[in-house]
């Protein structure tokens, strides 16, 4: 050992020798033991936890001193925890304010022999980021969300549309039931906002008493949308004989739908948002008029006006509806048979029924009613009642769209899940690495080893190191297992915490004494 030391030192200039010996004397004494080996990580690397742990523990076979300890959150935010971790054989890394999702701990420690030992581990809290699996007990919450959304939408559409219709037709027919609908919608709106916040944060109903879900929901596009909708409801309640207020309420409500939800969020927004706006205006005109009309059938003026304008409204309704449906369905027919597509199909079926009823009213009953036929008036009232019921069912169906990603989104998601490939080569081995899906979050690696002529190569072991030096993520090390079915190697539980370019290093143990190392990089979404 001394000989080794001496020969090393003699190659260094004598001027540096004194300095080196000084450092040696200070640091040498404890430096003679073996270098540190990581023995356990708690929680285990790659684990999915229900709640955030208080601390992470890295246990080494001897005392180490942290050089750099960084925690990278699901949103990419980096915390430097180096100063909070004292050196010891077991490093205890205190955790605070851990959010849901996957986190990566990147560490670099030094043991007494001065050998820096880098490493990284991943753990997830609540969910593995990128794969949101709805929990089993979300059923009640989803039902409550659907109910709140349905009452809000139906109440406000019938109430606000009705107030506008009253202002237009005149009279007070159905005034009280319209007010009740509006109030129901106004009550349901904030409830919906809070429930939406619970869903966004993954909290239980009890958390409604805390401000967190409300703030979270208000911060999404639902916040301003629900504020607008409630303003519309209040204007409608206060409109009375003031026509302008009722019109304004109608416009505000249509706007509120345009600025939130799947349809308004689809691109191109310059097209979808005006389409949603027009769709809602036409809908408010049609559905809103039903109750006031039924109440004022004998005053023929309203029905006459409605009959003359309804073709325009229906044209707008179906034109905008058709355009939105085409955008939402997206280019891939394979995705049309999703839950979204099923709701759309049911909605179209019910609309056909609704149109049949409306047509019956228009062409069979309107003439006799305008002529003062009492029997026709009673019959039309019943038909309008059925139309209102049908409209409510349709609104209930569309409230279900809250839970179904539109097919265009499914198609877009499929593009992102395309595998990522990397080709690594160092004589005599070529390795094809594929990550499927090729995005951050949980993924699966498959590795095929061949020689330069593409003939398969046998190996004893394959180890993959992944790092992102520019993001400060040290090497994640995963052993691949041999897949006898394909003859290749695979890592099933790979979790890539961040998107971007990952540096790859693949160690292939070809025989007991021969190991080859390939390097490369792979880009993930």
């Amino acid at each position: 050992m001394l000989g080794l030391l001496r020969s090393g030192l003699f190659r260094i200039g004598t001027l540096h020798l004194a300095a080196l010996v000084g450092v040696l004397l200070v640091l040498w004494a404890p430096a003679l033991q073996a270098h540190a080996v990581l023995q356990s990580v708690t929680p285990a690397d790659g684990s999915l936890l229900q709640t955030a742990p208080d601390a992470l523990r890295l246990r080494f076979n001897e005392a180490v001193r942290p050089l750099s300890i960084r925690l990278i959150g699901p949103n990419g935010a980096v915390q430097d925890l180096t100063a909070q971790v004292p050196g010891a054989a077991e490093l205890v890394i205190p955790l605070e304010g851990i959010t849901q999702g996957s986190h990566v701990l990147s560490w670099r420690v030094v043991s007494d022999d001065g050998h820096p030992i880098p490493g990284a581990m991943v753990f997830s809290v609540g969910e593995i980021t990128g794969a949101t699996a709805p929990e089993a007990d979300d059923g009640t919450l989803y039902l409550a969300i659907w109910l709140a959304r349905f009452v809000m939408v139906a109440g406000l559409i019938v109430g606000v549309g009705g107030a506008a219709a009253l202002a237009w037709i005149g009279g007070k027919g159905g005034h009280r039931s319209l007010r009740l609908m509006t109030i129901a919608g106004l009550v349901a709106a904030p409830v919906y906002l809070g429930l939406h916040g619970l869903d966004a944060l993954g909290l239980g109903f009890a958390a409604l008493v805390s401000p967190a879900p409300w703030l979270a929901a208000a911060g999404t596009s639902f916040g301003p949308a629900i504020a607008l909708a409630m303003l519309a409801g209040l204007l409608a309640l206060g409109s009375g004989r003031l026509r302008g207020l009722a019109w304004a309420a109608m416009v505000l409500l249509a706007l509120s739908f345009a600025i939130s939800g799947h349809a308004g969020a689809a691109t191109p927004r310059w097209l979808t948002r005006p389409m949603v706006f027009l769709h809602l205006l036409a809908l408010l005109f049609w559905i809103g008029a039903l109750i006031p009309l039924a109440a004022t059938l004998r005053r023929s003026e309203g029905l006459r006006r409605f009959s003359s304008r309804i073709p325009v409204a229906l044209t707008l309704l179906f034109g905008s509806g058709l355009a939105l449906a085409m955008i939402q369905l997206g280019p891939k027919p394979a995705h049309w048979q999703s839950a979204y597509g099923a709701i759309l199909a049911a909605k179209l079926g019910l609309i056909a029924l609704l149109l049949a009823l409306a047509g019956w009213n228009r062409w069979r009953l309107t003439g006799p009613v305008l002529a003062g036929d009492d029997e026709a008036v009673a019959r039309m009232r019943r038909v309008i009642g059925a139309e209102v019921l049908l409209s409510l069912v349709i609104l209930g169906l569309t409230a279900g769209w809250r839970f179904t990603p539109p097919p265009r989104a499914l198609a877009a998601a499929e593009q992102i899940t395309a595998p990522a490939f990397a080709h690594l080569h160092a004589d005599p081995v070529m390795a094809m690495l594929s990550l499927d899906p090729g995005r951050s979050g949980p993924t699966r690696a498959e590795i095929d080893l061949t020689d330069a002529e593409m003939a398969p190569i046998e190996a004893l072991a394959v180890t993959l190191h992944l790092s992102q030096p520019d993001q400060g993520v040290e090497r994640l090390t995963r052993s691949a297992s041999h897949d006898p079915a394909t003859g290749g190697w695979r890592i099933d539980d790979l979790l890539l915490p961040l998107p971007g370019l990952w540096q790859l290093e693949m160690e292939i143990r070809l025989t007991r004494f021969k190991m080859i190392r390939l390097q490369g990089e792979i880009a993930v979404e």
Partner: protein
């Protein structure tokens, strides 16, 4: 932080070749001369005790004889060399290609040495590093000291010697 980094850099500069690794006592050897290789095993596989040590003898190191160790079963794997070597005028065409000390028990807390000797061929390139890949086997685990890349940061480098100019016979 900066202090830590400096200290670690100082360590890294001084401590290479690290004592943590399985290594050879004599870091240099003359080409065309005999060499007594003393393999130093500073620790087990993690916490586990070493039970078997396998050493590969690459082409170019011939006439190999391992030293028996009390408490260990010594075996060799012999085979034909790729070419003939000159042993004081005799042609040597086959010999030991792997040495296995097995059946031992070397706890992680203890240190031990394993010895063998042989000759380096005279035509090996001076200045290169000659590696003896070693696999250390413990109960249910192993450490494969087979990385011959020469990378200073290699986790498990193979023990090697730097070949220097030998005296002409």
């Amino acid at each position: 932080m900066i202090r830590n980094t400096l200290i670690s850099l100082a360590f890294a500069a001084i401590a290479a070749p690290a004592f943590a690794h399985v290594s050879l006592e004599q870091p240099e050897a003359k080409v065309g001369a005999t060499y007594k290789a003393v393999l130093r095993v500073p620790h087990g596989c993690g916490d586990l005790a070493t039970q078997t040590l396998r050493v590969q003898i690459p082409e170019g190191f011939f006439n190999v004889k391992p030293m028996p160790k009390a408490g260990w079963v010594l075996e060799t794997v012999k085979g034909k060399y790729a070419k003939a070597y000159d042993k004081h005028g005799t042609e040597v065409t086959e010999g030991v290609q792997e040495i296995v000390w097995s059946g031992g028990d070397l706890p992680n807390e203890f240190y031990d040495e394993f010895t063998f000797r042989g000759s380096f061929a005279g035509d090996l390139p001076v200045g290169s590093t000659f590696y003896f890949p070693v696999v250390q086997e413990c109960a249910g685990a192993q450490e494969a000291w087979i990385d011959t890349s020469g990378d200073e940061n290699a986790e498990l480098p193979a023990p090697g010697v730097v070949l220097i100019e030998g005296k002409a016979h």
